[in-house]
Subunit: 141 residues, 2 copies
Amino acid sequence: MNLRLANESWESLLRAHASLMRRYQEDGIWEDLSMTEYDVLYTLAKANSPVRLNDLRDGVLLSQPALSRLIQRLVDRGLIARAEDTTDRRALMLKLTDSGIEKQKRVGRAHAKTVAKEMAPLEQAEMKQLKALCQKLVSKS
Amino acid sequence: MNLRLANESWESLLRAHASLMRRYQEDGIWEDLSMTEYDVLYTLAKANSPVRLNDLRDGVLLSQPALSRLIQRLVDRGLIARAEDTTDRRALMLKLTDSGIEKQKRVGRAHAKTVAKEMAPLEQAEMKQLKALCQKLVSKS
DNA sequence: CGTTATTACATGCATACGCATATAATTTAT
DNA sequence: ATAAATTATATGCGTATGCATGTAATAACG
């Protein structure tokens, strides 16, 4: 096990994340959404079936209370709706409203273009490698 | 330009970052530091010459005011010291105190072990690939 | 079954953050 | 050289976050 290489590798990922996030932040396509809020809308769109709060949290780097309040704000703004889970009355089933779907699509299209531009330094084969490597890291420890 | 692949690739990186950050967060080695605060200590340690606030910001995903206050807190806790830049009296030259060096080393050693453990799903060659790919993304757009 | 533990989400409170703006020093322009 | 623009950092203020804890519902256990 090469401790040094493992750490350099992680640090590269960390810096790449920070660098790209900053660039995305600065391209002003987010309307009235924070990037975290958009991420939640995106996750709901991708799931295209109602999702529980705790399942949302898997992908998003937020505490449960922070996510709970983020959801509340998006509900207040009419972008997502809560429904009850008939089989477990503790749970929330979250889905996009029509307005939320619209907004996610609009912002998502713009964001996708920026992402493609920022990923452009990589060849297609390299993008595939990166994707595979990152997925391998997530799968388990 | 493959828009789809570029976005999938970015999303993998984003999720890997979130997943690993959460695992690091949860391993309880951080003493009284936030991970962001540790990152600043680490950056100063790596530089091993005084660094300006705005240069610190390159690697850390924080606004200038947030970083300014983070520095203030670390100064108050005796972990870093401000010195004046004799050639530019607007600037801050930041460096670790002895206590800051100690803490960075101690926490850093523990963190490095966790990192190595979490990166273990990758072969050494894959770590090198990941590092190279991420560096390529940072270098420019 | 009834008690206890666990799970899912919400809320109080202190703190950290981002945005706008202020302050102070340096550079540029006239 | 003086005024205007720019750069480096700090501060006011509203908002988002995390931690601890609360509430309600389901699961586990004796």
